[in-house]
Symmetry: C2
Subunit: 102 residues, 2 copies
Amino acid sequence: MRKPAYHIFVCTSSRITGQQKGYCHSKEGVTIVAKFMEEIEDQDLGGEVFVSNTGCFGLCEKGPVVVVYPGNVWYGAVTPADVEEIVTEHIKGGKVVKRLEI
Amino acid sequence: MRKPAYHIFVCTSSRITGQQKGYCHSKEGVTIVAKFMEEIEDQDLGGEVFVSNTGCFGLCEKGPVVVVYPGNVWYGAVTPADVEEIVTEHIKGGKVVKRLEI
């Protein structure tokens, strides 16, 4: 199979029980996922980049949390407004967005 | 922050809507997450290894899917019975479990 070059994991506080609660969920986690998907399409990165919603990363006080592999880069306090910068700078440009890194 | 050396992502078909359906969910995705957590504790890897449940990876026909970073290793048709081997061989031993790789 063809693997993604980048894999972006966005905490949406997805519980294995299906329950809809948790810090990142309450802070637009779902909107952040949607924004990443939109941005990846807009920047023509489909197939290269994969976006997944996840359960809690255990760092709620730093949320919403986004983790990018490869590189094991953890971003915190991410808002939908930060997504374009992460895709442009990090995913396309290869430069970690330092102001959001935790 | 201290980052995990390994991050294991298990598809539990976690929908951003909270809906509880999907192939990996129907094939014990949630039990696989629990088994990874148990095995990590039993093998004294807490803190080194992080386990996250995720939404669909889009490879349902190869599910349940487990993705391991670093390495971008994708496993398919994983069952709870395979978890101990993945932790022992791959996470502890550094050797990809070839028979499950997709």
